[in-house]
């Protein structure tokens, strides 16, 4: 079976799952089945089918599983968000379509993605400007002590979501060119392998950018996500684990310093360590997130059964249920099994992404695929880890599931880049549409 036919077949159960999910929510809300769920299912399938046909024309050899997996996460998110608020779900569906339009445009205009290498410094500057934007007077917006959003007229978005792609593109390109020098030029000082300073300058810029985010944007989650992606790329490019250790040490020292001096960061860490100190105030969100999970058990309470607000009032029982803590809501309603399905889906996306990197022939493609996959996986880890108290809770979205246009559009652009790399890699490796399953199974 060709790659694109696999994709088509994989999309069918996704659409059915979405239909079943909506049916369950309707049944819960009005105690009756409604054909509306079938109509929503059909809409969803039609949109996916259109995307599929576009992929069939433009990227016939691209990885067949990535898009269905992303669609599966979207289906999860749409149902959960609909269950919270039908209006939000309508917005989300629009963002989904807009995301797919940008997905298609990315594929259309970046067919030859090597062009990105030529503009790497421009892209880096754009990425930094995007990060800076929320602090600019007039358009910046502060949410919960963090500067995450930009608001210009009717247009509001979270620039960090796009910035992460810029950063990965820049790093992939820069490291592709300088990896040899970084390896060869490294010197051993006191038994520790240090990278050559000259070529390491731009790396320090990334460290600086992460610290900058911590202090000025006060965005602990994005800062962590960026820096982890940077270390992952550095490790893959140079093969030097010591660089990662040095980088990690630098981040920890910086983070520790700012945690001690910047109140917002400090608070986040304190809440993480002892949420019961102020259960009704600062610890409220993380505690409610965990209490919500405790209600889920193995199988969950079922769609529409979780308490999100205190009954009879608008007081949030699970704050930011449609964004930050949507994972807790999933655990509550679908149980540990549902949560594992979500994590497994992210893991499969990561597996496919890294496979693309393995298959790619040239350095830039390899690093680009690695970086995009890494930043995507880490984002999922940072927010799920946040709501499960593995790490301090920060406001990062759960890719493809959380409510929010910036997140969805940015992640579809990220997915488009991955598919572009995949299409070329698989065609060159001869595992594309024209060859059979056998070879694919081996890669």
């Amino acid at each position: 079976m060709s790659a694109r036919n696999r994709e088509l077949f994989a999309l069918v159960p996704v659409a059915m799952l979405l239909t079943a999910g909506f049916a369950a929510v309707f049944a819960q809300e009005s105690s009756q089945l409604d054909n509306l769920s079938l109509i929503y299912g059909a809409y969803f399938f039609a949109v996916c089918l259109a995307t599929h046909i576009y992929l069939r024309m433009r990227l016939p050899d691209a990885d067949p599983y990535l898009f269905p997996l992303a669609a599966l996460l979207m289906a999860f998110g749409l149902v959960m968000i609909y269950r919270i608020d039908a209006d939000l779900a309508r917005d989300q569906a629009n963002w989904f379509v807009l995301g797919l339009v940008l997905f298609a445009l990315t594929i259309q205009f970046l067919r030859d993605y090597d062009v990105l290498e030529r503009y790497r410094y421009t892209i880096a500057v754009v990425g930094l400007l995007l990060l800076l934007a929320p602090r600019l007077p007039g358009i910046g917006e502060q949410v919960n002590g963090a500067y995450l959003g930009v608001k210009a007229g009717p247009l509001a978005f979270q620039p960090a979501e796009f910035s992460k792609i810029c950063l990965v593109v820049f790093l992939a390109s820069y490291l592709r060119e300088h990896r040899e020098v970084l390896i060869v030029g490294a010197r051993r000082v006191l038994g520790v392998t240090l990278p050559p300073l000259k070529h390491f300058g731009p790396m320090l810029v990334v460290w600086g950018a992460s610290m900058f985010m911590l202090v000025f944007i006060r965005d602990l989650g994005s800062s962590l996500m960026f820096f982890a992606a940077f270390l992952a790329l550095l490790y893959v490019a140079t093969g030097r684990f010591s660089f990662v250790v040095i980088g990690m040490a630098m981040f920890l020292v910086g983070a520790w310093f700012f945690a001690a001096t910047v109140p917002h960061v400090h608070d986040r860490v304190e809440i993480w360590l002892d949420p019961y100190a102020h259960p009704q105030a600062s610890g409220y969100q993380i505690l409610q997130s965990i209490f919500s999970q405790a209600d889920g058990g193995l199988f969950g309470k079922g769609f529409g059964q979780a308490l999100i607000t205190v009954p009879g009032t608008d007081n949030a029982l699970l704050p930011a249920a449609q964004t930050d803590t949507i994972y807790s809501l999933i655990v509550n309603e679908l149980g540990l099994f549902g949560a594992c399905a979500v994590i497994l889906t992210y893991l499969l996306i990561a597996a496919r992404g890294f496979k693309i990197a393995l298959l790619s022939a040239d350095g830039f493609s390899k690093l680009l695929a690695t970086g995009l996959t890494a930043v995507f996986s880490i984002q999922a880890f940072v927010i799920i880890g946040g709501v499960t108290r593995v790490i301090p809770l920060t406001g990062v979205t759960l890719p493809f599931i959380s409510y929010g246009g910036s997140s969805i559009v940015a992640n579809f652009v990220l997915l488009a880049l991955l598919l572009l790399v995949s299409d070329r890699a698989r065609r060159e490796a001869g595992v594309g549409a024209r060859s059979g399953d056998l070879v694919l199974g081996k890669t």
Partner: protein, 486 residues
């Protein structure tokens, strides 16, 4: 670079495994403890969305029911108590903000319909909404009302009435009462009132000196252990020196060569004091424990709301057979002996039931939302402190108390009554305002003496009168009400 990419993927697998691990911990392994956290309002809020079952009196009178408020996802149920303060004790209350108490708390699982994990999964699959069961009690509304009315005239105190053969609790009244409907509005007022302590169930929590009612326990121990027979004479002088302090009879009367019947009828302190000394620590404490002293009575109320009875030291700790006590004074119900009205009702009930003490139970049956009885009280024996023969001998002596002795106010025309009065002096009791003339008045007994239908303990705090004056009439009214209702 491929080697590093594979390792990186390995790291991602590890990180995601950590996420699965933490999620499992919160959602499954630590879930029970998280649900018990104070900060976690979810269990209460969820219960509020369940239609909690009704609580009914024995005749079907609705004591508690839940009424819906709001609709859709805002739907919740609020508890209503149509009978107001009549059943504040022992039913208690159940409100999300203030938690629950007494019967409402003890029978929570039945009232909210909590079933096994398996059947709740089945219900979930069927789409059935959890609904509570009704719990029918043994409480007799007329008798409960009679008890509270009498108490409100007599003073603070309590009445417990038990069916001797089954342990069914027909009355559990505590004065002053409170209206559970007012709890959401007046909780702090109700819970901080140090003098009236309206939320305190005097019937099961109140610990009072039993006075002469305890002589019944001493007599039971004497007869059953063989230390005395109903014919054993003991010389009882008007005053007897015990542990350096004189023990005196009322009006200093002498009872030379008195037997049990005469001693109990006249409540002779020096007679029972000597009996106590003859019994010794071990025997007296053994029989106390057989009746249920030193243990929490097995009633269907939260353990924290039922007190133990026994001899306490100044630190409030229970004493046992090995501790030094003034036996002569314990035997007549003094010497830091403190008992609950429930425990004294159980003593009366055990004697009435041929020496068999049944477990006291307020509930009678559980009825599911479809009207099926899913559980029925199966009366069970707590202990057999004395033989049927001893019980009969005691009954005869206790009949004398009512017919010709200190408890004549308990007489019911046409019905033989067995009982015992008690008047413990409690001078300087702070709860009574520190007056010097304050007594704790008691009456325990059962009727009819030859075929007991009801055993009752009635007590009044802070009264200047005697057991026969204030407690015996309450016994009579409540017993009469129950016997007439039979």
């Amino acid at each position: 670079m491929n080697r590093q990419i594979v390792k990186l993927f390995g790291l991602v697998v590890v990180l995601f495994a950590v996420l699965v691990g933490f999620t499992s911990y919160w959602a499954v392994f630590d879930a029970a403890s998280l649900k018990g956290k104070d900060a976690n309002k979810r269990p209460l809020l969820e219960q509020q969305q369940i239609k909690r079952g009704r609580i009914l009196a024995a005749d079907g009178t609705v004591i508690a029911r839940s009424v819906p408020k709001g609709h859709g996802s805002g739907l919740r149920y609020v508890r209503r108590y149509p009978e107001g303060s009549l059943y504040g004790h022992p039913i208690g209350y159940s409100f999300v903000q203030f938690g629950d108490s007494e019967f409402e708390q003890f029978h929570n699982d039945e009232l909210v319909g909590n079933e096994s994990e398996f059947s709740s999964i089945l219900d979930q699959l069927r789409g059935a909404k959890q609904e509570g069961n009704d719990v029918v009690t043994n409480l007799d509304p007329t008798a409960q009302a009679t008890a509270l009315e009498d108490l409100s005239e007599a003073g603070f105190g309590a009445v417990v009435a038990i069916e001797p053969q089954s342990g069914r609790v027909r009355v559990a009244a505590s004065n002053p009462p409170y209206d559970p409907n007012r709890v959401p509005y007046e909780y702090s007022k109700l819970s901080t009132n140090k003098i009236e302590t309206p939320l305190f169930n005097r019937a099961t929590q109140g610990q009072y000196p039993p006075g002469s009612t305890f002589k019944v326990v001493t007599a039971a121990a004497g007869l059953e252990s063989g230390v005395i027979t109903p014919e054993t004479p003991i010389d009882a002088p008007g005053s007897l020196e015990v542990e350096g302090t004189p023990l005196e009879n009322d009006f200093g009367l002498d009872f030379p060569g008195a037997t049990l019947d005469e001693a109990l009828t006249n409540s002779v302190n020096t007679w029972f004091g000597q009996l106590g000394q003859r019994l010794g620590n071990d025997t007296l404490f053994e029989y106390m424990e057989r009746f249920g002293f030193n243990s929490t009575p097995a009633i269907d109320l939260p353990a924290g709301e039922v007190s133990k009875s026994g001899v306490f030291n100044e630190e409030g700790e229970l004493l046992g057979a090995n501790d030094p006590v003034d036996l002569a004074r314990v035997a007549i119900g003094q010497e830091r002996l403190a008992v609950t009205p429930l425990q004294m009702a159980l003593v009366a009930a055990a004697i009435a039931n041929k020496g068999k003490e049944m477990k006291p139970q307020i509930w009678s049956r559980v009825v599911d939302p479809d009207g099926r009885v899913t559980k029925r009280l199966d009366p069970s024996q707590y202990s057999q402190p004395i033989s049927a023969e001893t019980a009969e001998e005691l009954t005869t002596a206790m009949e004398g108390v009512v017919s010709e002795g200190t408890g004549t106010n308990a007489e019911i025309p046409g019905v033989a009554v067995a009982g015992k009065t008690g008047t413990a002096e409690t001078p300087g009791n702070e709860a009574c305002g520190g007056g010097e003339e304050e007594n704790q008045a008691w009456f325990i007994g059962f009727a009819p003496a030859d075929d007991p239908k009801i055993a009752i303990a009635a007590t009044v705090e802070c009264t200047e009168e005697f057991g026969n004056d204030v407690a015996a009439p309450i016994f009579r009214d409540v017993a009469e009400t129950i016997l007439n209702g039979e």
